[in-house]
C-alpha cells in the first residue's frame, strides 16, 4: 500500500515532466499567411490572416500598404491547443482587404518580429476583377421598389472572371442579404440554375452585417466553384432561393404612416409601417422568392496538341515527389509519393505518369486530396504509387504531370527530379540504358531489353473425382455431428457397464461379509459348548460348510464332507473325522435323538474345534 501511495506522486511528476518536456521541446515558431479568397472583385472585401504558431510574443505589422488595396487590421485572436500533453499556442492577426481597382496584386512577405528574431510570411497573390455583372445585379436588386416585399432581401451572383477555359474551375460567390427586422429565415436554396457547366456543392462561408444604401442587411455568403463543360458563351444563374419574412398583415391606406427610425433616407421602408412601432400588433409570415441577375461569361477551348500526360487539369500547379525505400531488392515495392499543389480543377488532376516504365512494374495509384479552401479549388492532391523494379536500377523513372495554365494560355509539363535508388539483385541494367532519362529523349532501341517471356501455366486436367466436393468444412457437416453419436453411445454403454459391474461387486461383497460373520458366530458358539449335541454338531457342520463356501466362493448349502476335504486338502484321518462330523450332524438332525450319551465330552469338543480351526486353504 505504501508503495502504491509513493508511486502516485512519482507518476504525476513523471506525467508533468513528460508534458513539460513536450512543451519545452515544442516546434519552433512559424508563421503562415492566407487569404480567404485569392479571387475578388472591386469593392469586395477579402480577409487576410497572419498566423504565428509557437510564440505569443509576436508582433505583426499594423499597416500593410499596397497601391490599389485598402488593408486594415481588424483584430487579433489567440488560440491554445493541447494534444497529448503537447501544448501549442498561436496568434492570428486579421486584416480586411478592400480592393479599390482591378488587377493582380502581390502582397509582399510581411516581417513578423518574435522576440529577438523575425520571420517572414509567404508572398500572396490577389486577383481582382472588374465586376460589372455584380454591380448590375446588386444594383438592380437593391433599387427596391416601394411597397415590394423583395426590398427586404436581395441576392447577388458574383463571378469574378468573364473569360475562362473549358474545364477551368472558377470560384463563384452568392450573397443573400436580409433585412434583420423582418426576422428572415431561409427555407430553400440558394441554387444556381443554368446548363453547360458543373457546380460544386454550395458552402456557407460567412455571415455578417453590412450597410448598403444606408440600410442594414444580414448578408450570408455562399461559395462554390463552377467549371464549363464546353466552349462558348454561357449564362450562369440566376440564383434562386426562398425565404420567410415577417410583414405587416394589411397596410392601411387611411392610416397615416410615420417614418421608421431606420428609414433615414426616406426610402419608403416597409418598416415605417406602424406594425413595427408596435411589435405586439398583427403580422404575418410570408414566403418570398429571392432571385439574382444571371451572369454571363465566355468559355474558350483548350489549346490543341495536349501533351500525353495531360489529363484535363486546368489551373496552376506545382509538383513534389519522393520515394521510400531507396535501397531495395529487385521485385520489392517502392512507394512513390507525388503531391500536386496549387489552384485548379483537382477532380481532373490524375497521378503523374512515369515517362519510362521499362524494367518497372507499376500498381494503380491511390489519391488523397486536402483542400485549402471551402470549395476545393485550392489544395494539394497526394498520390501514392507503388512500383517495383524488375531489374537493377539506379534511379526512379521521371514523373511527368501536365496541365493547362489559363493565365499563360498554354500547356505546362512538370517533371520530377531523378531520385537515385539502389536496387540489388535481378538482371544488370544494360550499359546504354539510363533509367532516369525520359523515353522521349532516348532512342527506343537503345538499351531496350526484350522482356522475358512470362512463364506459362500448367496443362488442363481431365480427371474428375467420383463425387462432388464441398467447400463446407467437415465440422459444419451434419454427418460429422451425427457420427459423434457413435462414441457418445459407446461412452454411455461403457459407463452403464461399469455401473452394473459395481453393483454386482457390491452384492457379492455383502454375501461374503455375511458368511464371514456367520463363521465367526458359529466358532464362538462352538467354543462356549453350552448347547445340546444336536445344535453343536449342526453348528460344527455349518461352520465347515461356511468356511468351504468362503474358500471356494460357492453356496454353503451345496458343500458336503468330500468337497470340504478336497477344498482344504485334508489327510485321511482328518477326512474321516470330517465325515464322522457330517454323519453325526445328519444323524442328530434327521433322527431327532443322538446315538449314545446326551452330552459331548470335552475331548470330543476339542477335536471338533481343532478340526474346524485347522481348515485353511
Amino acid at each position: 500500500m505504501y508503495g502504491v501511495r509513493a508511486s502516485i506522486p512519482v507518476f504525476f511528476l513523471t506525467l508533468t515532466a513528460f508534458g513539460g518536456a513536450n512543451c519545452v521541446f515544442a516546434d519552433a515558431p512559424r508563421v503562415t499567411a492566407v487569404l480567404s479568397n485569392s479571387e475578388a472583385a472591386v469593392g469586395q472585401t477579402v480577409q487576410l490572416q497572419i498566423k504565428v504558431t509557437g510564440d505569443r510574443a509576436a508582433q505583426a505589422p499594423e499597416n500593410i500598404v499596397i497601391d490599389g488595396l485598402e488593408i486594415n487590421r481588424t483584430g487579433t485572436e489567440q488560440h491554445f491547443e493541447m494534444n497529448n500533453f503537447n501544448v501549442s499556442s498561436s496568434v492570428i492577426y486579421n486584416y480586411t482587404i478592400l480592393p479599390l481597382k482591378s488587377g493582380t496584386f502581390k502582397i509582399p512577405p510581411q516581417t513578423v518580429r518574435i522576440r529577438s528574431s523575425s520571420l517572414r510570411t509567404p508572398e500572396l497573390t490577389l486577383n481582382v476583377a472588374d465586376s460589372p455583372g455584380r454591380s448590375s445585379s446588386s444594383r438592380s436588386n437593391r433599387n427596391l421598389q416601394p411597397g415590394d416585399a423583395d426590398k427586404l432581401v436581395f441576392a447577388e451572383l458574383i463571378v469574378p472572371k468573364k473569360i475562362a477555359f473549358v474545364g477551368e474551375t472558377m470560384p463563384v460567390e452568392i450573397r443573400l442579404g436580409f433585412d434583420p427586422r423582418a426576422h428572415p429565415k431561409l427555407v430553400d436554396g440558394p441554387e444556381i440554375t443554368g446548363q453547360g457547366f458543373t457546380a460544386q456543392k454550395l458552402q456557407q462561408s460567412q455571415e455578417n452585417l453590412e450597410t448598403l444604401n444606408g440600410r442594414s442587411y444580414d448578408v450570408v455568403t455562399f461559395k462554390t466553384a463552377v467549371a464549363a463543360a464546353r466552349a462558348g458563351k454561357f449564362e450562369i444563374g440566376p440564383v434562386k432561393a426562398k425565404a420567410q419574412v415577417s410583414l405587416p398583415r394589411t397596410p392601411s391606406t387611411s392610416r397615416s404612416r410615420s417614418r421608421s427610425p431606420f428609414d433615414l433616407f426616406n426610402l419608403d421602408d416597409p418598416f415605417s409601417d406602424p406594425f413595427f412601432a408596435d411589435p405586439f400588433g398583427q403580422s404575418e409570415r410570408r414566403e418570398i422568392d429571392v432571385e439574382s441577375e444571371p451572369a454571363t461569361f465566355e468559355v474558350k477551348p483548350l489549346a490543341a496538341n495536349a501533351p500525353p500526360s495531360f489529363s484535363g487539369a486546368v489551373g496552376n500547379f506545382t509538383m513534389t515527389t519522393d520515394a521510400e525505400p531507396k535501397n531495395v531488392q529487385a521485385g520489392d515495392p517502392i512507394t512513390v509519393t507525388s503531391t500536386i499543389s496549387g489552384r485548379g480543377n483537382f477532380d481532373r488532376v490524375n497521378a503523374p505518369v512515369f515517362e519510362d516504365e521499362r524494367g518497372w512494374h507499376k500498381y494503380p495509384p491511390s489519391a488523397k486530396f486536402k483542400q485549402d479552401d471551402d470549395v476545393g479549388i485550392s489544395g494539394a492532391k497526394t498520390f501514392e504509387t507503388v512500383i517495383s523494379p524488375n531489374e537493377k536500377k539506379q534511379a526512379l523513372p521521371l514523373l511527368a504531370f501536365s496541365y493547362f495554365d489559363p493565365l499563360k494560355e498554354k500547356y505546362v509539363t512538370l517533371r520530377s527530379d531523378a531520385i537515385p535508388i539502389s536496387v540489388q539483385g535481378g538482371a544488370p541494367i544494360p550499359p546504354n540504358a539510363v533509367a532516369s532519362q525520359p523515353a522521349a529523349t532516348a532512342p527506343a532501341t537503345v538499351g531496350a531489353k526484350p522482356s522475358p517471356k512470362p512463364q506459362d501455366i500448367l496443362y488442363q486436367l481431365t480427371e474428375r473425382p467420383p463425387r462432388a466436393q464441398s467447400f463446407t468444412p467437415l465440422f459444419a457437416c451434419p454427418i460429422f455431428w451425427i457420427a459423434q453419436l457413435i462414441p457418445l453411445a459407446a461412452l454411455l454403454g461403457f459407463a452403464g457397464w461399469k455401473i452394473r459391474q459395481a453393483k454386482i461387486d457390491n452384492r457379492e461383497a455383502r454375501r461374503i461379509g455375511a458368511l464371514h460373520q456367520e463363521s465367526t458366530d458359529l466358532l464362538r458358539r462352538l467354543r462356549r459348548g453350552e448347547v445340546s449335541p444336536q445344535e453343536y454338531f449342526s453348528d460344527a457342520s455349518r461352520a465347515v460348510r461356511v468356511k468351504t463356501a468362503l474358500a471356494k466362493n460357492v453356496d454353503p448349502n451345496a458343500v458336503d464332507a468330500e468337497m470340504a476335504a478336497a477344498t482344504f486338502r485334508l489327510d485321511e484321518s482328518s477326512r474321516a473325522q470330517l465325515r464322522r462330523l457330517f454323519e453325526r450332524s445328519d444323524e442328530l438332525r434327521y433322527s431327532g435323538r443322538p446315538n449314545g450319551t446326551g452330552t459331548i465330552s470335552p475331548e470330543n469338543r476339542r477335536e471338533v474345534l481343532e478340526l474346524i480351526e485347522n481348515l485353511r486353504v
Binding site: P365, T462, R467, Q469, F471, A483
Partner: protein, 248 residues
C-alpha cells in the same frame, strides 16, 4: 440400443449414397476441355461455369476454369478459381503452381496471415475436426475410466490431460483457420481498377488500389458495398460486385 445403432448406420450410408455424383456432366466437362484444347477459351470458360453453377464442384474443375480465365486475360477470376481449387484440395500441385504464376503476372496483393494461421496451416480444417473429435472422446473415455475404476492410474490421468490438450489445440486451430485472413471470409478482387475507399462513395478518398486477384477479407456488407480488411492491414470499402468469396 440396437435400433439406434442400426438407424445411425442407415443415416450414414444414406448420406454417402445421396452425395451428388456426376451423372452426365462428364460430357460437358470433356466438351469444355476440348474447347480449351482448341483454343476456344471463352467457350471453355462458359462450359466450366455451367458446371460450377450446377454445383458439381471439384478441385480439377476450378483449376481448369482458372486456366481458361488466365487464357482470356482475366487474372482476377483465374486467381479466384485456383484459390477455390486449393480450398477443395489443399494439396493440388497444379493449382498451386499456376496460382503462383498468375499472382506474379497480375501483381496481386496477398493477405498477411497471423502467426497461428501460419503454424496451423500444415493441417486442413477437416483434419483438425477429426483430431478434435478423436481427442475429445478419448479424453472422455479416460475420465470415465478414472471415475469408475478402482485404481487411479497415472497413465490414464496423463492420457486424459493429453487428449483434452489436443482437443483444445485442435479447436483453436479450427477457429483461427476458419476466422483468419484466409478463412471463410476470404475473397478475391475480380474487377479491374478497384480501389478500396474510406467511405461508401465513389468520390471518397482511396485507401488502397487493388489489382485483380488481390486477396481481401470481407468484414461486413452494406448494400452494394463491402467493408473489407485489406492486404496492407488497413480496412476500406469497395463495391460488392468487384470481389467474390472463395468458398461458395
Amino acid at each position: 440400443m440396437k435400433q439406434l445403432i442400426v438407424a445411425l448406420c442407415c443415416m450414414m450410408v444414406c448420406t454417402f449414397v445421396v452425395s451428388p455424383a456426376f451423372p452426365q456432366s462428364d460430357a460437358e466437362f470433356a466438351k469444355a476441355n476440348a474447347n480449351y484444347a482448341a483454343g476456344h477459351f471463352q467457350e471453355a470458360v462458359n462450359g466450366y461455369e455451367t458446371l460450377v453453377r450446377s454445383g458439381e464442384w471439384s478441385a480439377n474443375l476450378f483449376y481448369n476454369l482458372g486456366n481458361a480465365y488466365f487464357r482470356v486475360g482475366d487474372f482476377g477470376h483465374a486467381i479466384l478459381n485456383y484459390e477455390r481449387a486449393l480450398a477443395l484440395d489443399r494439396h493440388h500441385p497444379e493449382a498451386d503452381a499456376n496460382l503462383r504464376i498468375v499472382r506474379d503476372e497480375a501483381r496481386a496483393l496477398e493477405m498477411q496471415s497471423s502467426w497461428p494461421e501460419r503454424y496451423f496451416q500444415f493441417g486442413s480444417l477437416s483434419q483438425y475436426s477429426v483430431v478434435a473429435a478423436v481427442a475429445f472422446w478419448l479424453g472422455m473415455f479416460c475420465v470415465f475410466r478414472l471415475i469408475f475404476g478402482r485404481r487411479r492410474s497415472a497413465a490414464i490421468i496423463a492420457l486424459s490431460i493429453l487428449s483434452f490438450s489436443t482437443f483444445v489445440i485442435a479447436a483453436f486451430a479450427i477457429y483461427k483457420l476458419e476466422n483468419g485472413n484466409n478463412g471463410r471470409a476470404l475473397a478475391i478482387v475480380t474487377g479491374t481498377g478497384v480501389e478500396a475507399r474510406f467511405a461508401t462513395a465513389d468520390s471518397a478518398n482511396s485507401v488502397l488500389a487493388l489489382p485483380p486477384g488481390s486477396e481481401i477479407k470481407i468484414l461486413s456488407t452494406r448494400g452494394d458495398w463491402i467493408y473489407a480488411a485489406l492486404p496492407n492491414n488497413l480496412r476500406g470499402w469497395l463495391p460488392a460486385k468487384s470481389a467474390e468469396l472463395v468458398r461458395l
